[in-house]
């Protein structure tokens, strides 16, 4: 294999047959190239969608209410359904074992927030301590709202990073007082959110405070629950489906809403959605793999085909070589080494070209759904080696047949 004389022979043969070498290489290189691009974009789509989901917990059930659209038990349509603290407490007690984190929400969509001379108009959300985990809020300094803040309805606020920058500039916000709609709140923490600027423009206060200070009585706008994840994704989805439909049923009972009224009580189950999207991604990735592997198989068949033609075309040459004293194994070795060299070289070339293109184009893509289109290098390099081995196998049969050719048959004049 590492016989320099053999390599000289091979390079000579390859360089004297440039077109043939080029075509063989092209089919292999393009196969690998396409595979790398496809896998890269498959991963890119997965990364993009995953990061979209990262902004919130994926096993989240959100309950909101609206206006009834159907007459039920003598009640007219068009009633606004207002959820109360009681409703939440009931559900929370009933599903204590399944629920991981929970919160109600009473929010002001926009409120003037003032610190010294700076005023901004941002959203203020009254939430429970569990909201930190539901929203994936990451506390950078200070702390989030805790149970005692909630129980005592303390006037404390956790502000988003963006709000901190806008209001406090370089000042340390912790323990400073801000005015929210004219009411004094003490800043106890700053959070980052993977959801980005929009999420970081808001402030959180305890929901109990929010209801008292902003005339909310015991009204709530949203309830959110995250469900303990089962190891089995499908059974987790099944559980959360059962739970969300029974929450829906219970609330409709309490508020006397028709069981088939879809607008009065609205339940959004992200886990179910996530499953749909993840299964879509799996399908897309499977299709990409399928196409990629198909391309590689086409490449291998191409190599095998070209090797067959090469052997056919060189039958006479092989006969001459054997008449001049070539051993059968040296004929097999020569043809195999040629095919391995060409597939390896062009496979690596295709790999580098594909990775290069991904590295070049990847950062330019401005889509939420494609992010970091990259390929696991190990997967890519192993496909190259699989291709080389398959190419060698494809080359071996014709090479072996070539070695079996009797020189006398090869040399017989046609």
């Amino acid at each position: 294999m590492f016989d320099i004389e053999r390599w000289q022979e091979i390079f000579e043969t390859l360089s004297k047959n440039k077109l043939r070498t080029f075509l063989t290489g092209l089919s292999v290189a393009s196969g690998i190239f396409i595979l790398v691009i496809l896998l890269g974009f498959g991963n890119g789509i997965e990364n993009g969608v995953t990061s979209q989901f990262q902004s919130d917990a994926t096993n989240l059930i959100t309950v909101s209410s609206g206006v009834t659209t159907k007459e039920y038990k003598g009640l007219n349509p068009g009633r606004y359904i207002q959820m109360k603290n009681d409703n939440f407490n009931k559900i929370s007690r009933q599903y204590e074992n399944q629920i991981e984190h929970q919160t109600t929400m009473y929010a002001l969509w926009q409120a003037p927030i003032t610190y010294k001379n700076e005023t901004v108009n941002y959203r203020v959300r009254g939430v429970m301590p569990g909201h930190q985990f539901i929203e994936n809020a990451d506390i950078s300094t200070g702390r989030f709202i805790n149970q005692s803040d909630f129980d005592a309805s303390k006037k404390v606020a956790v502000i988003g990073h963006k709000m901190q920058v806008d209001l406090f500039k370089e000042d340390d916000p912790i323990n400073k007082n801000i005015l929210i709609s004219g009411v004094n709140f003490k800043v106890i923490g700053v959070f980052y959110d993977p959801g980005g600027d929009r999420e970081e423009q808001q402030a959180y206060i305890p929901v109990s405070t929010s209801q008292k200070v902003f005339n909310g009585a015991d009204n709530i706008q949203y309830m959110m629950f995250t469900i303990k994840m089962d190891d089995n994704f499908d059974s987790a989805v099944e559980n959360s489906k059962i739970m969300s439909s029974s929450i829906e049923q219970k609330l409709k009972e309490i508020h006397t809403v028709a069981p088939d009224d879809i607008s009065a009580i609205r339940i959004n189950n992200t886990l179910e959605e996530a499953r749909k999207i993840y299964s879509l991604i799996d399908t897309i990735k499977a299709v990409f793999w399928f196409v990629g592997i198909g391309t590689i198989i086409a490449g291998i068949v191409g190599v095998g085909n070209i090797m067959l033609i090469i052997v056919k075309e060189r039958t006479k040459e092989i006969g001459v070589r054997k008449a001049l004293g070539a051993l059968p194994m040296s004929i097999v070795g020569m043809i195999l080494q040629e095919s391995i060299f060409v597939t390896l070289f062009s496979g690596l070339f295709g790999l580098i070209a594909g990775l290069g293109l991904l590295a070049l184009v990847g950062p330019q893509i401005q889509s939420d759904f494609i992010k970091n289109p990259q390929v696991n290098f190990n997967i890519a390099i192993s496909t190259v080696f699989i291709l080389v081995i398959a190419g060698a196998a494809a080359g071996f049969i014709p090479a072996y047949r070539a070695a079996k050719i009797k020189p006398i048959d090869a040399l017989r004049d046609e």
Binding site: E5, G319, R321, K322, L324, G325, A326, L327, M329
Partner: protein, 221 residues
């Protein structure tokens, strides 16, 4: 091989001594090429013995046959059988590659043999840039390059015109004069007359085996 076996040679018994220049003659189908192929270990006889330089040649596996062909025999074919993407000098160097000789050494040696057949200026030419006679001379240089004990030529002049044929024969005679044993298959009487011994085959048997007065090819050129 097909299921119908055909007995081409039916009892051939002859010896060639070192330094002889023998022509094997016969009409087509007489078995002359088969005989040469058996001598060249390209084919094997069903029965009988073949001894080359005191080596019994029988039951050879491919590897040993390849080795013997490389060491003992040089081939010249009617259709030259040069490798068309290799230059003249590389073609001549090929058997030495299979002997395991280093590249530099074998190129030097190939150039020596090309010079010997008078083709030094064409060393770097491709076979398709050479005339038929030149191709055959390259093939002869290649056959000589492995320094074989016997040179086997199957219709070496079959594809050449008369003048070129005589030039090639002159070369072969010159090689024979240096002591090399040469067997030529031919069906041309004038070519056969230029050898020292003519073996006549018909239907697989030797009908005539006689020494002749050699006609020097140079007298015709």
């Amino acid at each position: 091989m097909g299921s119908n076996s055909l007995h081409v040679l039916k009892g051939i018994n002859f010896n060639v001594k070192e330094g002889e220049l023998v022509s094997i003659m016969g009409s087509s189908g007489s078995g002359k090429s088969t005989l040469l192929n058996i001598l060249g270990m390209l084919d094997e006889a069903d029965t009988g013995t073949y001894t080359l330089d005191n080596f019994p040649i029988k039951n050879l596996n491919e590897k040993v046959a390849a080795n013997y062909r490389n060491k003992f025999l040089g081939f010249v074919f009617q259709s030259f059988n040069l490798i068309n993407y290799k230059s003249a000098v590389d073609n001549v160097a090929l058997p030495m590659y299979y002997q395991g000789m280093k590249r530099k050494e074998r190129i030097e040696k190939a150039e020596y043999y090309l010079n010997k057949v008078g083709l030094s200026p064409w060393a770097q030419h491709m076979p398709n840039e050479l005339s038929g006679g030149q191709k055959q001379r390259v093939a002869i240089a290649r056959a000589l390059a492995s320094e074989p004990k016997v040179l086997l030529a199957d219709e070496p002049t079959g594809a050449l015109d008369t003048k070129t044929s005589y030039e090639v024969m002159e070369l072969i005679q010159g090689i024979n004069d240096e002591g090399k044993t040469i067997l030529i298959v031919t069906h041309e009487h004038d070519i056969a007359q230029m050898t020292k011994r003519i073996v006549n085959l018909k239907d697989g048997v030797i009908i005539d085996d006689s020494f002749v007065e050699q006609v020097r090819a140079s007298s015709h050129v």
